[in-house]
Symmetry: C2
Subunit: 346 residues, 2 copies
DNA sequence: CTGTTAGCGCGTTCAG
DNA sequence: CTGAACGCGCTAACAG
């Protein structure tokens, strides 16, 4: 491996000149620059990342706290892909730190080893130790999601309120007045899982504001439970003509129960999946209309948000929210005016 | 940030003693070790990763070439998660290098900067430039998947032959003699996409060996095309009583077409999805029986395979193949003896 | 068992 | 516009 000294010797200049030519931190005459570049090419020179980091005290690496998420759908993958891509474009690399929520201390200790200049924290909860630990240690970070008090904390997140408003307006515009909402499990809501809490709050609030009837239910992430909850909803209020679901697996149960009851989608009942992964809508028949998470956009933004703190020259990025994207399917239609309970067909 | 020199001073020993206490490369008296540990604790010392890497010439980082895979299902996520986890257990970190297949040179150049000690290459094709480039540059690597000639190349992969044999034996044992196989697209087969090529070859060979009738079809990754191909298969050979699919999205089309024809699953036709992601079976009704990819296992193995080359003391890991895991659902039953074409029901 | 010290490859003052 | 030289924090001989 050729070093900077080899290049300097070959080009007949000093090492510092080569260094400056590399970083552009100082004006270099064109001729000198040429000679240096030729020398670099001929020697197959590649600057050593470790030496550079040691001397400059910046690793040019950002860490992604990568939670163990068992999910269908690939939003997480999109996020990671986009984040890695954006990091590379910005001259950084992305390392994966597979820490669980409870391993905040381990995370901080790793960060103190100087391997990463900053940290991206996924799946942040309303009350999240990790963020406190990072702040106490003065480690630059950006969170995906939000803690309860987000005022001065760098974050990017899905705009649940806008997403829910989009969903409700869409359905209400088609005459739906009794709309069910199927959330994640009560357990996750109680654990302060941001999406579950925020979306539910927004749903109830927006429905009330419009004088519509909201039927919200927590539901475990599974088709079987989704089906049970759907049955329960239809029984307890037969006027329901639309389902908004924020639970990919449960949505398959919604379809199953509707089909079992011979309720046609979308003629009798409309279904809209929100905060899903792109593509999952096409797995259902008729194709589920969805509002999918902007995983890629979030990934890029999260990186930008973090880098804006590492490099004071960059524009600081304000806390940013992105709404989910409507992916029209075939599962939404105008509301029926007759209660579905009367419509059993065989 | 405290340095090793601070620790040495505080403990009243030399820096090398601290260094050796840290690495355990040299015997240290218990008493000295105690003093050092106390000093480290009091100073909140954390060794600097960059300095360590520079001096030792090993970064303790491995890179994962992370392809842009647009897929439903989370096998990729499981792989990455498991790999990152295993790397951490082994004292390594995993960095993501989002390079496309065509960016072999860029990948090599990054590797030459010494940021990573070795490289994991996902989604390897039968003819893959990247592997040639890595070998030419003498960069340690392990591939997930296999090139055409795999003899001496470190790799881990799905055991497509064993998976296919498992699938066929299962179905043949239930009396199925005319079995359809739905593959990925012709385009991917032509591109030398390993899974598509290997599984198809294994399927035809094993079916022939058993005197069974194989109906293999390439199929784009989409429910719509999957449905068309299914219709075509049922029309061209009504004796088909079972589908083996290696195409998650197309499988939803298989279900749709069977339901449209009022063919009951599994009474009239059995369906088995192979090389799927865990959980996708539950998205279908009746629950699809699957043989899912061992993503986690592959991730761990890939890391072990690479690390065994970096550390000569480790046992070398032979090229290893892992079969997919049967996840029983409700979509497989005994074969009918009457051609399905005669069974239209309404 | 412990200490001394020369690098690892590069960034960045400071002097010219 | 260019060079010389020190230091980043640690590892690993070499010397005891």
């Amino acid at each position: 491996m050729a070093t900077i000294a080899d290049v300097a010797r070959k080009a007949g200049v000093s090492v510092s000149t080569v260094s400056y030519a590399l970083s552009g931190t100082r004006p270099i005459s064109d001729e000198t620059r040429q000679r240096i570049q030729v020398a670099m090419r001929e020697l197959g020179y590649h600057p050593n990342a470790m030496a550079r980091s040691l001397a400059s005290r910046r690793s040019n690496v950002i860490a992604l706290i990568y939670p163990e998420v068992a999910t269908v759908g690939n939003t997480g993958g999109e996020f990671v892909q986009a984040a890695a891509q954006r990091a590379r474009e910005s001259g950084y690399q992305l390392v994966l730190w597979p820490f669980r929520d409870s391993e905040g201390k381990e995370m901080r200790n790793l960060a103190r080893q100087g391997m990463a200049d900053g940290v991206l924290v996924m799946e942040v909860c309303l009350d999240d130790d990790r963020i406190d630990i990072l702040e106490a240690a003065k480690i630059p970070y950006a969170m995906i999601g939000r803690t309860r008090d987000v005022s001065a904390r760098p974050s990017v997140d899905i705009d649940f309120e806008a997403t829910v408003i989009g969903a409700i307006d869409h359905l209400a515009g088609l005459g739906h007045r009794h709309i069910a909402f199927i959330n994640h499990s009560q357990e996750r809501i109680d654990a302060g899982y941001g999406p579950a809490v925020r979306a539910a709050a927004a749903f109830d609030e927006q429905m009330a504001k419009r004088g519509l009837t909201a039927l919200s239910r927590a539901c475990e992430d599974s088709p079987v439970v989704g089906r049970k909850v759907t049955a329960d909803l239809l029984t307890s209020d037969p006027r329901v003509t639309a389902f908004v679901t924020m639970n990919e697996l449960a949505t398959f149960g919604v379809y199953a129960e509707l089909q079992a009851r011979r309720l046609a989608i979308p003629d009798d009942v409309s279904v809209l999946g929100i905060v899903t992964s792109p593509g999952v809508g096409t797995l259902s028949y008729p194709v589920l209309s969805t509002m999918h998470s902007p995983g890629g956009e979030l990934g890029r933004l999260a990186v930008d948000c973090l880098l804006s703190q590492l490099d004071p020259a960059r524009q600081p990025i304000p806390n940013q929210l992105i709404a989910c994207v409507l992916e029209p399917g075939m599962s939404i239609g105008p509301a029926r005016t007759i209660a579905n309970v009367d419509l059993g067909r065989s």
